[in-house]
Amino acid sequence: MSLSALWLLPAAAALLAACCGRQARAVALGAAAATLGMSLMPAWAGLDSLSRLSYAGPAWFYGIRYSVAVDGLSLPLLWLTAFLTLIVILFSWRGRFSSGYWAAFLALEAALMGVFLMRDLFFFYLFWEAALIPMFFIIGLWGSANRRHAAVKFFLFTFAGSVLMLLGFLVIVTQHHLATGVWTWDMELLKSPRPGGALGLASFLALVVGFGVKVPLVPLHTWLPDAHTEAPVGGSVMLAGVMLKMGVYGFLRVAIPFFPELCWRLLPWLGGVAAVGVIYGALCAMAQQDLKRLVAYSSVAHLGFCLLGIFSRTQEGLAGGSLQLLNHGLTTGALFLLVGALYERGHKRGLSDFGGLAGRAPWLTFFFGVSIFASIGLPGLNGFVGEFMSLAGMMVRLPVLALAGVIGVTLAAAYALPAFSAVFLAEPGEGSVSAMISDLSALEALTLAALVLPMLAIGLHPGPLLALLRSGVGGLAL
């Protein structure tokens, strides 16, 4: 099996779905399931032989060359993308969507798979930008009241970031050409010689800002609450579950390997921004009255943990930080699905719009409770493993930043539990829509169980996944 099929199949299916009208959702389901199945096949074949799957085509102009590969870092991210796409399609199954909706999600999947597969900076950039387009339509067409504003803001913001990123790429490529006389966009070849001096610093910072917008790093995060809140359920899940990971993946795949010394020298700054994000995101989440905004801000905090681990450049920090990427995809994905289920039933999202759901909708309450406790880092569930290992890594380097992270862990309970209590436990108040909330349907419960089971499995036995991730990121350790 060729790796290219992982993005070609959903791309072709997207075209098919766009054309075939009423059968679109069946096409989407089939394609998403097939993609997930294919993405799992490398694991079947044995994880030691991942490098044999890579493929590189002939060079085109300026050394651009189509090349794909997987390793211990990208494989789990491919799984996450394929898995969440399938979950989203199942969860929207009963919704009345036009064929464009299903096509957009398949196109999004294709672009995201491409980002994690490509090993040529040019194609990496191409897929990176391509992912914006379906998401722009998902938010702008199927979002809630303020969707257009959010879609445009999302597009402009992240696009500006990617242009900076592209600028960084161009400097790297041309400097490499000046030094060696060879044109190449290949990620491996570009690592030496690297641009140094002021130009190196400038291109590194361009990459940091470019990836940082996606993550998002704190002062650049304000597109995220708007986009997450206005997007439809599936859009929020894919945004939080996969698109935010592109930023961290960019750090792991490009920024750190290309500029290891710079990244190490700037650790207090980079780590400081991540630590600020952890606390800032948690405090902002505490102030939110809208459930979706609350989960969106909690993402800002959670992604801060990933970066703290990764920037520490220790084995445990790198493995934990990249595991936290997957964890966040699962827990935040589940939370957005549940908030979406509430919104579909009651057409409200405010904390004070519900109340007393624990009695009315026990399964909804159960899954929400597990996801909330996973997200606040209860040991035994997945969030703890990622946070703990990330912070253990940072403790070895800069204890102050680890302290900030631990404060973030504490604050997480302060925003998550009152929200849980207000929606599920408190007596419904004036104007509550709780009466309209029915419990999860069997299909919905099944999709959520599919998200919750891995949370428990990773929480108690993360060993195999950590080993896989470490084979991908361990080389970045100092």
């Binding site: 445009v152 304000t222 505490m286 939110q288 084995q315 253990a392 309970a413």
Partner: protein, 626 residues
């Protein structure tokens, strides 16, 4: 994982005490809860019986043959050379704790069957209750700090679920959140200590950690000192030491079995256990034991005095628990961790018995708790409850030959040996605890005072409501007699032995206790209206006492401050200033473009693609010219 030295004989029962509750919970949650929710307690009771039998087996073998082990069981988090594992540790300390938790916890489970029989959330209650029990068992059997933290947090989770069991009550929700949050603030210290210990030792297994501490091979003594202080902070949160004690009295909002389990066996004793387990680490840190002693003594006196002013039966007992946890911390601070654990065990029995008696009284009224106004003279209508309460009260007050006498005496011995303020505190604590518990005894079972309703509408509960209490109060009478065996056992696992009983200490301790009893007698029975009249005469004093001498307003102010800060940051700054003015408003062209995009909606994409092409072309040109 390979086990060095072969499989120990006790491994099987040790695994059984963990697996039995896990299986009971899975069976209860997946099969009985949907199918027959009213029967959820059956597998759970069976699991309690298995756990109690295995625990007694373990403790007797550890005592008789000095068996014990510390083995890794499975990997948890691994990254190259860095790893954290699950393991089991059975030694004198953990087996004593295990036996107490299993016996007391099992009896409380039994008692809860009748108490909760008509509750709507019967099956939810039993599942959470058993999870609570399981967390504590896992906690005492842990062989590393990280594993201990896992169960430590699980007790936090289950206490959240149980305190908030009657979640339709706003007070229960608030109390549950307050308990979880306060514990989390304590856990901040634990989490940091874990990270520091991992940084310094690369491992958090007790075995390897204490071995390298003993060998003096510590790279960074300051970091270890800091970790010791942080562990104490964590224990303050879990074991309700000043200033993090306030969640415990409010946790009374949960059903009575929860209070009994939480106060006697699980949860609050975990902090004391942590300190004793860490004794090789914290004992050597200069200044830390003295600080623990000071905090413990202050907590004991402070909460003891407040317990003497409360009117709600369960609240009196709650403050009494805070006070007794203070006594245990005091003992640890006096470098007598064995005394602390011994007192923890005796306290487990008498406090559980007292709570269940209070629960029986409230149950007769059909209320979650009872006020002193509603009782009085109950010895006539509830003689069995009176007997059990009296046995436990004598034990709490430390009167010979009840269990509390032996453990308090050992602590007083250490306090007198230390001299100065510690000796004074030791005696005062003895007098204060005797006072509040006998005040409660007199006002509840004697009288009734003219201000009380009296015994008319009270009746004894059924067999399930009395037999467990009887067993617990017999334990409150007798477990102290085991002090010699207990001392031998603990000293085998590295904890110093209990001091010998001396007549001077016995005399002084008994005198203090009798003074307290006498004072209670005069104020409660000699002047039967006094407890009501001073409140009417001095309403400001009463209010000040009700607010825990100003602690409650201070806590509320802190919480309000954080909420306000979050509000300013999350709404005021992030949304209304940063996003509105700096992101969306700058540069104005971006806003214009945004509006353009808004007007053109989907069609605007073309423009962006053009902009993109132009920008890329410009960048390419610039880059190629470089």
């Amino acid at each position: 994982m390979a086990i060095p030295g072969g499989v120990p004989l006790l491994l099987l029962p040790a695994l059984a005490v963990l697996l039995a509750p896990v299986l009971a919970l899975l069976f209860g949650f997946f099969i009985l809860r949907p199918a027959a929710p009213r029967r959820t307690h059956l597998p759970i009771l069976l699991s309690c019986a298995v756990v109690a039998a295995c625990a007694v087996l373990i403790v007797s073998r550890v005592y008789l043959f000095g068996e014990g082990f510390d083995i890794p069981v499975a990997h948890w988090m691994v990254a190259g050379a860095w790893s954290v594992s699950f393991g089991l540790r059975v030694d004198g300390l953990s087996s004593v704790m295990l036996a107490m938790v299993a016996v007391v916890g099992g009896l409380i489970h039994l008692w809860a069957c009748e108490y909760m029989a008509h509750d709507e959330g019967f099956s939810r209650f039993f599942l959470a209750f058993h999870l609570f029990f399981l967390s504590m068992i896992g906690l005492v059997l842990s062989n590393s700090y990280v594993e201990l933290y896992l169960f430590w947090e699980l007790t936090g989770l289950s206490s959240y679920l149980l305190i908030g069991h009657w979640y339709h009550k706003a007070s229960a929700r608030r109390a549950a959140f307050q308990a979880f949050m306060t514990n989390r603030i304590g856990d901040l210290g634990f989490f940091l200590a874990l990270l520091i210990l991992l940084r310094v030792f690369g491992d958090t297994r007790f075995l390897t950690l204490f071995r390298s501490l003993k060998a003096g091979a510590v790279g960074d003594p300051e970091a270890v000192t800091l970790a010791g202080w942080l562990l104490f902070w964590a224990a303050c949160g879990k074991s309700a030491q000043f200033p993090l004690y306030f969640w415990l009295p409010d946790a009374m909002e949960g059903p009575t079995p929860v209070s009994a389990l939480m106060h006697a066996a699980t949860m609050v004793t975990a902090g004391i256990f942590l300190l004793v387990r860490s004794w090789p680490l914290i004992g050597g840190i200069p200044g830390l034991p003295a600080a623990i002693a000071a905090v413990g003594a202050f907590t004991a006196l402070f909460a003891g005095v407040l317990a003497g002013t409360r009117r709600d039966l369960k609240r009196i007992l709650a403050y009494s628990t805070v006070s007794h946890l203070g006594i245990m911390a005091f003992a640890i601070g006096l470098s007598q961790p064995a005394c602390a654990i011994f007192h923890l065990v005796t306290h487990g029995f008498f406090k559980a018995a007292l709570f269940l008696c209070a629960g029986n009284i409230a149950h007769a009224l059909g209320q979650p708790s009872a006020d002193l106004d509603q009782v009085g003279g109950l010895r006539k209508t509830m003689p069995l409850t009176f007997l059990c309460f009296a046995l436990a009260a004598f034990s709490l007050a430390g009167i010979w030959p009840f269990a509390g006498f032996y453990s308090k005496d050992a602590i007083l011995d250490a306090a007198l040996a230390a001299g100065g303020w510690r000796a004074l505190c030791g005696l005062l604590i003895g007098a204060v605890s005797a006072f509040y518990i006998f005040r409660m005894l007199f006002l509840t079972f004697f009288g009734p005072s003219p201000r009380q309703k009296g015994p008319a509408h009270f009746h004894e509960p059924g067999a399930l409501g009395t037999v467990p209490v009887l067993f617990l109060s017999l334990g409150a009478l007798s477990v102290g007699w085991l002090h010699n065996g207990f001392s031998t056992m603990l000293s085998r696992s590295g904890v110093p032995a209990l001091p010998e009983l001396s007549s001077r200490v016995t005399l002084l301790g008994s005198a203090a206790a009798l003074a307290g009893v006498l004072l209670a007698y005069v104020l409660a029975l000699g002047l039967p209206k006094w407890d009501w009249e001073w409140r009417e005469r001095r309403p400001r004093l009463e209010r000040w006492l009700a607010q825990d001498l100003g602690v409650k307003p201070a806590v509320a102010a802190c919480a309000a401050f954080v909420r306000r800060l979050a509000g300013i940051l999350g709404q005021g700054w992030d949304k209304n200033i940063w996003d509105r003015w700096f992101i969306e408003g700058w540069p104005p062209a971006a806003l214009g473009l945004g509006e353009l995009g808004q007007e053109l909606a989907g069609g605007g994409l073309n423009d962006y693609l053009w902009w993109m092409a132009v920008a890329v072309a410009a960048l390419l040109y610039g880059a190629l010219r470089l």
